[in-house]
Subunit: 397 residues, 2 copies
């Protein structure tokens, strides 16, 4: 009986190369491919919950330890499951409607955004320091060369962004959603620009200000503890790396107007965001436990930032596989520090965070998530480069 | 009285740096900038028609000779007028509704497309040969280096497309909308691929087949006189250069499904199209006299090709200023051959075509039109390059 249910579950997921082991020791796979991952299901009620809502209940059960890895590669097994499920899945019906209701509850109003951002980014700088690279970049890195470490790839990402923006010494930059300040400081130190960087995470802003002091850049970089909607003034360049996911599609028009009114003639803006090939809400477990209020947009959804604001799209680059590698580096560093994480939080948190990082890597590997870097300029500006060759020139910028 | 009307007209256009000379010898400008262009208006009725519908009547009057250039740069004057008007214009109301009705009349059904394409592309190969480059490329060139001639830039465009598609010898390519066959033959000759290339223009297909014979490529390249909707079979790469403008937004889903079902695992597709920063129909004069049924899409509109079909956007490049330069080269070559064109057609046709080419160059210069090259792959394919550095490597491909 239970075995029949497991078969049904695996069929519903498109027969991924995964084996499920039951509490009674029996095990089932419906794939003809070699098994990549064997998972143990602790009891009948877990199986039952999985059947009714795998998207939500898999993460719940893994976090509780009611599902565990017996053998195999967790990330590759998840990625293949995502890939098989995507081929199988039908048009979004009920889940999409649930998702809309849920998003209303976590709306990104000025106050709602502060609450949503606090929930994730204020877990403690000491925690993030354990598994992020020394620049504290918590966004997709750019492995310009295969041999790069995560740290090198995060610096390469910053340079890639700065080159796309064609920063010139003496220019002014506004950054929306600056994290721990790594990019703002890099821009100031390496490109000689002045930066005003906005963020609504109190812990991150505090960290960034201290880092600016230590680097002697406090007069060149101003970290502002405020929402992107309150950005005033003008700049030659505008950057937003990994914030759009938190903006909410309903606010895209507003975000676009902020970019447009900020840019001086000849200005450039770069928006870097997790995305989707087609509109679909974030995985529900992820939205509930990791990124409340977040939604990865499709290219057409991202256009709602640019088109009404009169911004011209110059260049879009999809860095999906770079994010898979970035998340893989984070997961490996996290595993090396898991004893310390358990002391900071508890064993359940360790499992929750592993689920998140492994699921993220798997989603980028499987094509479930994308990473779009979009370069734009005011629609009537001819101060745009003719080719992108300058991005790939080696040597000094 | 007439002078007051001219002032009103120039105000409505955002006060471009243009001077209008009236039939009575008086002349008016409302700009404080130096005059770029002085135009003569032949009579009161022409002025009156211009006031009621400048978008349509300017081209009509220029073609008739009721408007003429007295002095200055026609292209730069038009470009500045477009730029000023764009800043001034309000949301599309009535004109957008007219445009919809008009588009229904020139719908791109299988038969409608054949009629629309015939009207423009079957004007005679001898005519196009007068002002296109030797590859007979009638799409945006790529001036990889500033010193390139149009011919070199058209070859560079083909190589840019082939590199984006990462063509490997022995692969199969399907091309939708192949013009006179230049790209298909280049792919076969330089990249060792086999190509099936589709086009509904009878004259172009005939020309392309003869060119394949002459080049000894007839067994490697098959030119098919048929609609993209009738494409069958599969391929490693799919290319469509300058056809999407003619597809019609209502058919984008269908076009996307054709691309998706054509691509084998690991396949890549490139769609190259004139576009807009935001949805707006083609200039009405242009749609009526030059490109019946055509519409340049915005990025969000282009997404209707890719998103429903499960295609992942890997790379978007905007080559707007390359098109301005391309159209400038065409216009210069056209002017050198205008005696011959007048013998082929008549003096009115010369003015009509000059209006079209100058208007096109001005539209790309002013940011009224864009040129998007979009590279996509099936959403679950990981056979995508990590960086775009290979596009900019010099030496053999």
């Amino acid at each position: 009986m239970a075995q029949r249910l497991v078969e049904q579950l695996l069929h519903a997921l498109g027969d991924p190369p995964v084996r499920l082991q039951l509490w009674n020791g029996s095990s089932v796979t419906t794939s003809t491919q070699p098994t990549l991952l064997t998972l143990r299901i602790a009891n009948r009620s877990t199986l039952w919950r999985l059947m009714t809502d795998p998207e939500m209940q898999f993460g719940e059960a893994y976090t509780d330890g009611r599902i565990d890895v017996v053998e195999g590669d967790f990330v590759r097994g998840l990625a293949e499951t995502f890939r098989h499920a995507a081929v199988h899945e039908s048009a979004p019906g009920l889940p999409a409607r649930w998702a809309r209701a849920r998003m209303l509850m976590r709306r990104n109003t000025l106050r709602g955004s502060r609450r949503n951002i606090h929930a994730h980014y204020d877990l403690g700088n000491d925690f993030y320091r354990l598994w992020l690279d020394p620049t504290m970049s918590y966004t997709c890195a750019y492995f310009a060369a295969d041999s790069m470490t995560l740290h090198e790839a995060q610096v390469a990402k910053m340079d890639h962004v700065c080159r796309k923006l064609r920063l010139r010494a003496g220019e002014e930059v506004i950054e929306a959603g600056c994290g721990w300040g790594g990019l703002a400081l890099h821009m100031a130190a390496r490109y000689g620009v002045r930066v005003r960087a906005f963020n609504i995470s109190a812990e991150q802003i505090e960290y960034a200000r201290a880092a600016a002091q230590r680097a002697g850049l406090a007069t060149q970089v101003e970290f502002v503890h405020d929402d992107y909607r309150n950005i005033t003034g003008s700049a030659d360049a505008f950057a937003s790396i990994g914030m759009l996911e938190h903006v909410g599609v309903g606010n895209y028009g507003r975000f676009g107007r902020v970019i447009r009114r900020t840019l001086r003639p000849g200005g450039r803006a770069l928006v870097h965001s997790i995305g989707r090939d087609a509109p679909r809400p974030l995985n529900r477990w992820m939205e509930r436990y990791i990124f409340p209020g977040a939604c990865p947009p499709s290219p057409a959804q991202m256009s709602k930032v640019f088109e009404p604001a009169g911004l011209s799209v110059l260049d879009v680059e999809n860095l999906r596989l770079h994010y898979a590698r970035t998340a893989g580096c984070w997961l490996a560093a996290f595993e090396r520090s898991r004893g310390e994480v358990e002391r900071m939080f508890d064993a359940r948190f360790v499992r929750l965070w592993r689920m998140y990082l492994a699921g993220t890597q798997a989603a980028f590997l499987s094509g479930d998530l994308q990473l779009f870097q979009v370069l734009v300029a005011p629609g009537r500006s001819n101060e745009v480069p003719l080719t992108r060759e300058h991005l790939y020139r080696t040597g000094p910028v």
